[in-house]
């Protein structure tokens, strides 16, 4: 192994392990702010360090600190303390590992060697995701059962049976996708979606397999225990569901596990149906061959985007009431300066690439990989937004409706989809 190999291993593993964790902050902030905006209120906007509120991000820090320093209670009546402690660990670990096989950029070629941009460079892709999400059931069951609490038990019962029954339509939806893509490797799947059809329509999974997309996304919502399928924690009936007895950091680990699972499943949805890391209409080869025009376009677009972004910050980051020397305006100036500095650094790099880099060199490959990582993360963020958006729109299902939907609607539809897809693929040769 050369030094480069080792660096690449570290980079890939740390991206796939820490990006989901960093996105926790994005998820939680987005959940709160989007919920606020959807309901015409503002969401958390007060917590700040020296007046820097970072759009509500500091609130997460405050909550995290609170949870970390809270007393960690294990009730007297918990008989199996080991399993009780194990449960949040399982749900968090399963959530993080399930992201390991999702590619976040096209295979990176450096010094003539190619590196698959996944946490674990393995070709079993989507099956791994299905296998690992299956494990999250253990966390739920153990938490609910070892808490020795009727609400926890009922919550775990609902949650586990929901996860188990929605795994089936999910797996079947995946099968019809696999017939189309001809591979279970998520890298292959993402590369397949980089092609275009008739020259201008990207061959994304959602266009090739709309029914499978609907089934998979609905099942993914159910797997993550998100509204409209969050019966496991139906507050009005079950107080909090399976993590009712957990306090402080153990609860926080459950909470974080839920959001990491959400991140992982939106990453998988993006990879399967929304072109993965592909920038629409531009495949990797095209970008690498035309690195100079691409760098030039970025060079122009970024300041323009930043100009309007700064205007947006100015407009919204001010006190909405009469106030002398509004400190929020000063705060907005700080944000805008930080962003401009960031943009300036990027511009310098882009200029360097524009001046010196030749097509098909390491620099070009790196730039394209970075662009693809950004595209992937933007797409995942949009998918996470859909999760939040659905949560604050749709009321909860009743439990029988939930099982009815899973077994009587999604399952037959998924089976039908497999037959139709198979027939079409065979007919088209």
């Amino acid at each position: 192994m050369t030094n480069l190999d080792i660096i690449m291993v570290i980079v890939r593993v740390s991206i796939s392990a820490f990006v989901p964790l960093c996105f926790l902050a994005v998820c939680v902030t987005m959940e709160r702010r989007v919920a606020g905006f959807i309901q015409d209120r503002s969401g958390p906007n007060r917590a700040g360090i020296c007046g820097i509120r970072a759009g509500g991000l500091v609130q997460n820090l405050a909550d995290g600190l609170k949870l970390a320093f809270k007393e960690d209670i294990i009730s007297e009546h918990v008989e199996h303390k080991f399993l009780y402690v194990l449960a949040p660990i399982i749900s968090m670990a399963a959530a993080i590992i399930s992201f390991a096989l999702v590619p976040f950029a096209d295979t990176l070629v450096l010094d003539g060697k190619s590196y698959v941009m996944q946490g674990i460079p393995w070709d079993t892709g989507i099956l791994w995701f299905l296998a690992i999400t299956g494990f999250s059931v253990y966390g739920i069951i153990l938490a609910g059962w070892s808490s020795t609490n009727k609400y926890s038990l009922l919550g775990a019962l609902r949650s586990a049976s929901q996860v188990i029954s929605y795994e089936i339509p999910m797996g079947l939806a995946v099968i019809s996708l696999l017939i189309v893509y001809g591979s279970i490797n998520l890298s292959d799947i993402a590369r397949f979606q980089g092609q275009t059809w008739l020259g201008f329509i990207p061959m994304w999974g959602i266009l090739l397999q709309p029914l499978a997309a609907v089934i998979f996304i609905v099942a993914a919502f159910a797997e993550c225990n998100r509204t409209p399928f969050d019966l496991a924690e139906g507050e009005s009936e079950l107080v909090a569901g399976f993590h009712l007895e957990y306090s402080a950091m153990k609860f926080a680990v459950f909470f974080m596990g839920e959001y990491v699972a959400m991140f992982a499943s939106s990453a998988v949805i993006v990879t399967l149906f929304f072109g993965g890391y592909n920038i629409p209409f531009f495949d990797t080869d095209f970008l690498i061959r035309n690195i100079k025009p691409v760098a030039f376009v970025l060079l122009v677009i970024l300041p323009v985007f930043m100009f309007y972004f700064a205007k947006w910050i100015r407009r919204n980051n001010r006190s909405q009431y009469l106030r002398e020397n509004d400190p929020r305006k000063a705060e907005a100036t700080i944000y805008i300066r930080c962003f401009w500095i960031l943009i300036a650094i990027i511009e310098v790099f882009l200029l360097a690439i524009l001046a010196f880099a030749q097509p098909d060199t390491a620099a070009a490959h790196l730039l394209v990989a970075l662009m693809q990582i950004c595209t992937f993360l933007i797409k995942v963020t949009l998918m996470l937004f859909v999760y939040v958006w659905v949560r604050w729109t749709i009321p909860r299902f009743r439990y029988d409706q939930l099982q009815m939907l899973g077994w009587q609607k999604l399952l037959p539809l998924a089976l039908l989809n497999i037959f139709v897809t198979g027939a079409i693929v065979v007919a088209l040769g």
């Binding site: 015409d40 503002s42 729109t393």
Partner: protein
């Protein structure tokens, strides 16, 4: 007044509604509209920026209690125990004593209200025959780090001023 009954047509029967997804997308369009409007410009939020912008308190608002005084500064209270008897939360504790200023026979030696127990129902105000206690200070936020500080005594209540002009307060009483 007879209850108004409005018959709403039952929804969910048509095939388009049975598919459910279409209706979900309609609902999501509404929430997205709200979200985008507020993201674009957050000055239209239906929010009071509370500690900086205080709400308008009407004169009928039942806030913290105060004890009223005669023009010469002596308390109006005659320690008749009406309010204490009437209090559903048992939060008023009065100790009666002989009046020293000669206006009436009795006056309270101590008059304590435990605000942690008070439910702000206003029965004490209604029960008072001397108009000696009112809840018109307009103070609605009262916090403390321990229970003892939640008990307020006679001197404190006597020193509080009404938050509203007299005629506005009287108008509020008429409305009741």
């Amino acid at each position: 007044m007879a209850a108004k009954v409005k018959q709403l047509p039952s929804r969910g029967g048509t095939p388009a509604e049975k598919v459910y997804l279409i209706e979900i997308f309609k609902g999501m369009a509404i929430t997205l509209k709200h979200f985008l409007r507020n993201l674009w410009d957050n000055s239209n939020l239906y929010v009071r920026h509370y500690p900086e912008v205080q709400p308008d308190i009407p004169a009928r608002w039942r806030g913290r209690h105060r004890l009223l005084t005669h023009p010469d500064g002596t308390p109006k209270c005659v320690a008749c125990f009406m309010c204490q008897t009437n209090c559903p939360a048992d939060c008023i504790m009065i100790k009666a004593g002989t009046r020293i200023d000669g206006v009436t026979e009795k006056m309270p030696v101590s008059f304590t209200i435990d605000l942690a127990e008070c439910i702000y129902c206003g029965y004490c105000v209604e029960a008072c025959p001397e108009d000696a206690i009112r809840m018109d200070t307009g103070i609605y936020a009262f916090t403390s780090s321990n229970r003892e500080e939640m008990k307020i005594g006679m001197t404190e209540m006597l020193s509080l001023k009404g938050g509203f002009p007299e005629e506005e307060y009287q108008k509020g009483l008429e409305g009741e």
